[in-house]
Symmetry: C2
Subunit: 376 residues, 2 copies
Amino acid sequence: MCDDDVYYFWPEKEDYEYLLKILDRTLIGGLGPTPDDLTKETAAKFFNQELVVHEESWKHIESYFSKSGRIMEGSNAKQAYFPKDAVVLPNPNGTAPGAILKKDQKIIVVLPGPPKEMKPMFINHVVPYLQQYSDTILVSKVLRIFGIGEGVMAEEISDIINGQSNPTVAPYAKERDVTLRITAKARDEEEAKKLIKPVEDKIRERLNDNIYGENDVTLEEVVAKMLVSNKLTIATAESCTGGLIAATLINYPGISEVFMEGAVTYSNDSKMKRLGVKADTLEKYGAVSEETAGEMAEGIAKNAGTRVGISTTGIAGPGGGSADKPVGLVYMGLHIDGNTLVRKFNFQGSRERIRQRATMNALDWLRRELIKKFNN
Amino acid sequence: MCDDDVYYFWPEKEDYEYLLKILDRTLIGGLGPTPDDLTKETAAKFFNQELVVHEESWKHIESYFSKSGRIMEGSNAKQAYFPKDAVVLPNPNGTAPGAILKKDQKIIVVLPGPPKEMKPMFINHVVPYLQQYSDTILVSKVLRIFGIGEGVMAEEISDIINGQSNPTVAPYAKERDVTLRITAKARDEEEAKKLIKPVEDKIRERLNDNIYGENDVTLEEVVAKMLVSNKLTIATAESCTGGLIAATLINYPGISEVFMEGAVTYSNDSKMKRLGVKADTLEKYGAVSEETAGEMAEGIAKNAGTRVGISTTGIAGPGGGSADKPVGLVYMGLHIDGNTLVRKFNFQGSRERIRQRATMNALDWLRRELIKKFNN
């Protein structure tokens, strides 16, 4: 059983609404190895279809286990059984394949529960399959925004949002950022793109550098690519974010060309020893201060021999705050080619959220400074 | 609008199934500041109720913005409007409060879309509210498991799972671990706990140290508490995980007592300079090797002056793999009080997944070694 059993989920709701109308039912979850995983069995029974071994899936599951040095258990074999006529959907991200079952005019789609397995399967296999039943297509382009909230953004372009029906423009507040989805309905992709282009141009003119990328790109990917293409070496010195900036940047596979070193300097001692922060600075201004943030950024760049150094020091909470320095207060330092900048932030929420927001804001700040420096 | 609009979500499905039977409808998402956020408005219209300002919510939203140094926009004010008789549900994790609307025997619950806002609101406010309509309660205890898969675990205790009806025992595969949920139906909590206890004992006897904790505890919290209670100082030296072990441990607020320093040593140069890995070792065995992992763990403990040092070095992919050293190969080193251990792992999946699995396995390894050392 998977705890995602009860999700009804698709990546961009409206895109698929018209497809789902012709879809009898999408069942998500319950494709696991345990006896209470009964989704596929139930769907097959509903269509009076028998389950037989699907060779390719069997091999996939077997190899999935052997690659991890484990043996395929009897219970996992269950995941390789499908009705003979089913369209089996491969799952590169787990052991449970999905399937499309069809009888007469009825279609049932069964998908694995974990979003990381289900989402790509839906996009790569279910949508193309269902498209055969439709004569218009929906094409979307997503603009990704950081640095302004959903409300402010929506107001700045409210005339564009309200003035459009094809394409439509829809703002979304996501966990890490804000997005604008421009969706055109057309006979083919080319026609859709022609509808999207002028609206996108207008939005870009208005929102400018607040737009950091398109579609599925991440902020760290954008920043990492700017660093790599400008051959700008970087090192990180983190206190309150505790390694999260380094870990996030390193999500990008090519980062090893420019990322040299990260330091998680949680204690005062390590701030002095690893980064050369002065004892005097720590005493006079405290570990959470502009001065310390600046010395941290400069120190890590110097010690690691990099052109860029970025630092964080703050109070992630829940304890440790004071009237002067409340929970959520974070100072960041950014050293680029000999210049050191410092910024102060106030974040809100849980410890995790404060650290997450600090990390994203550090990356966005770096992005904006790199744009200024390289005009790109 | 929020992209989670289409989620139907509750933390443990069966717990609430009986509550949801009496619930006319739960609407999730669409409580945002933009004009297309219409959930609350639609629900109120359905009940013929007018929206008025809810003072507390107004103040909450205002203070949320002012704390972030921003001003409450007109569009955000919309989030403070509710029907006069609605039970307004506070949202400590965002700007949009939820609400319970009731008319005659009908109830509509509206909740914000982002899971981090919606989930605690459902558990802390909606469930207690609905409990007034039921005369039995469901009490669950969750055992958290790491180190064996869902299939293997379910087989090891299949007799217990199948032999139970009250409490029920249900295995779940989660993103980061595997859980077993024991759920008893009873008139009160005490009676439920009495039903759960003997079944839990039997399971614990069978699964032993594979159970790392209960309910909402995280693996990092368990490990961090063991370190703190044993006054065991720690430092991390990460290559492929790139700061993720440090960042994960630092999720635990009390960690600063024992966590001294983390090094993200991505380049060979930094491995030698920061950790004292020998040039000879890197040349002879490579950066991704048992030998390097061992020297990294020992080196960071020595340099940071800690009793524990933990290290990772591996190939996170997607590039960089070879027949000899494939993508997913990770060596880890663990140095505790003068002894250095080394382990080899093979992970699968995306770069992100490999780094995530490596991080969790490093923490679990440390947990098991600490149990051996301290018998706790």
